[in-house]
Amino acid sequence: MEAFNLVPWVVFLPVLGLLLNAAIGRRAGERGSALIAIGASAGAFVVSALQFLALNAHPEGAVISLGDWISIGALHVPWAFRVDTLSVTMMLVVSGVGTLIHIYAAGYMHYDVRYKEDTASYARFFVYLNLFIAAMMILVSSDSYLMLFVGWEGVGLCSYLLIGFWYARNPDGKFGILNAQAAKKAFVANRVGDFGFLLAMFAIFWAFGSLNFDAVLPHAETVAPWIIMFITGKSAQLPLYVWLPDAMAGPTPVSALIHAATMVTAGVYLVARSAPLFAAVPAAQTTVAVVGGLTALFAATIAVGQYDIKKVLAYSTISQLGFMVAAVGMGAFVAGMFHLVTHAFFKALLFLSSGSVILALERAHHPLDGKVESHAQHAAQPHFDPQDMRNMGGMRKQIPLTFWVYLVGALALAGVPPLAGFFSKDEILADALLANPLVYVLLTAAAFLTAFYMGRQVLLVFFGKARSHPAKKAVESPRVITLPLVALAALSLFGGLINLPGLHWFTGWLEHTLGHKLAHATEFNLAVALLSTLLALGAIYLAWTLYGRSPLKADQADPLKARLGAVFVGMENKWWVDEFYAWLIIRPYQRLAAFLADVVDWKFWHDWVHDSLIARGFRGLAHFLANPVDLGVIDGIANGLAATANGLAKGLSFFQTGFVRNYALVTFLGVVLMLGYLVFSS
């Protein structure tokens, strides 16, 4: 197939874009660098769409090899792209949602760089964004675990770079290092998971002697335990989820692209990709499913108690990732991938809309008037947190378009039919009821809380009366920002149709890759669907009774706090997990580091080993070499040679009488002796 040969361009185009932007982005101006980046991403989307069309005709797919990459002994890893229904699904989501987010970012970053007083960073942002698309494409299009790992680390790097995009500032915009610390936290937490990935790769190579999917997957055996570890890292599951909320320090388009729609779903994709491996190990499957279920519920409880609009969405993302992980863990790979796709739509929509809300408040708080304001002016203004929902309220009148798309996203996330989230979540719940009742209970509770905190958020942000001055004067964002929102809202509305119960188009689509056994269509369970819908509506009603009937007033405590008391304090403080990790790992680690630095390194190693042992020993050795060896032996040899030569000369000079006759006599005697010898010896 001709179109399959184009697949490397899904990586090459973003790479071209980022190189162009790195070279001339600053000179091309904001419009130029944004167009380059959007063009690269849209090009990747077009290529992905061509793959999709080609797959419709040839669903078996293809492997396009660019050449040998590593060839050592028995290890052969080609640099090959894999085109099948699973990878093309991911390509379409990454490049499609990615392109919309690129367009959004072109408008959003225009304001952001001005509020951060660093307009030179505009092109840098798009370089990172293209780099992320390229890395993500390598991840989803790879044909081997090793190449997948390259993309895996690439997206980790981009995540780090983009969380720390404003590395010289704190999340509140003041100068500081908190953003950089959040980036570091994400990087380190991901590294723990990547360690598991490496172990899994070693185990796979040890067991199968190859890292290529085709060679590994047909004979599935047991390597799964390590795989759990890397899912927990990259897809932000218990216990390694803590980096994701902090990752919201990055600019909002980044939160949408990397930390909601694409990168964090890499773990889900990987499990779906390794489906036969997992299906062979039921214990690992159960573990993954329970971890996913617990994460879904746990993160949902935290999301209820947050005030930061992006933190709510961040914990919601963790919770939804828990749904997907639970699904793929139970063997419902199609349901997991389905939820991945729909979640990419509505969570990207929610994040981008929240960015629009934040931007509206920021612009009302201090208008730019087309010029960058000075540090003095900025510092003189009282602090105002445009992300705190307690500063919002009543914004549906000021920013109606953002309100409507936000509502669509929220309802889709809450699982209200017939939006996208309803179908995908329902499929997971139906599978869970068949596979594992415990996980079903966990997920249903999480779904209830999801609807509740989304209702709370919408009511706090858009209803009631404005609780701050900027919220009254908020202005709608420009069209470059709202158009991607509308597109994503349409996808959130209709995205569920791809796997409509009864038709199961998406199941059939993935069946080409996963096989019939692993990609079975789950029957639509009316009881489950009814129950989850009722729970969602009930939760929204509950949220309305708490936040809608009597809207929150400025400086009023959350009404839930009075009802739940200590439980709400726990939710508000994220169950002190960060503090617990600090107590359990970070502080002992720092104490260990301090011990190693002060006692082991400085006192023992430096003071004792270096100063006492090595320095003194060296000095002793030097003395020994200088005195007995050099002065004694070496000088002794030199002087002894001189003295010997001298004595020998003195002794020999005895024969040097100066009398010719003596010499003649000796010569004569010598001749006589020689002649005597010659005569008498023969």
Partner: protein, 100 residues
């Protein structure tokens, strides 16, 4: 015809006299003459054997020796004259300034 052994004995006697003269005499001129005596003892033996074996090689060698001896006399006498001029003596026991 006189046998070669006679010449051999005469030559040996002459060579021994010459050697003795070189070793025991103190006058440089006499030492010099003793050296000539040793050379001519060798010449005598060369000629005797050349005659005995009817080969001309020995006689040719003798001419060489005489020519070299003539050159040697020229240099040796010049040296003796030079030594005499500095030391006012040709006693070789007084010439020992190369003693180590």
């Amino acid at each position: 015809m006189v046998p070669v052994s006679y010449y051999f004995a005469l030559s040996a006697i002459l060579f021994a006299l010459g050697a003795l003269g070189v070793l025991v005499r103190r006058n440089a001129i006499v030492v010099f003459m003793s050296v000539e005596l040793m050379l001519n003892a060798a010449n005598l033996l060369f000629v005797a054997f050349a005659r005995s074996y009817a080969a001309l090689n020995g006689q040719i060698y003798v001419f060489f020796v005489i020519a070299v001896a003539a050159a040697e006399v020229a240099i040796g006498l010049a040296l003796i004259v030079a030594i005499f001029r500095t030391k006012q003596s040709i006693d070789i026991d007084e010439i020992s300034s190369l003693k180590g």
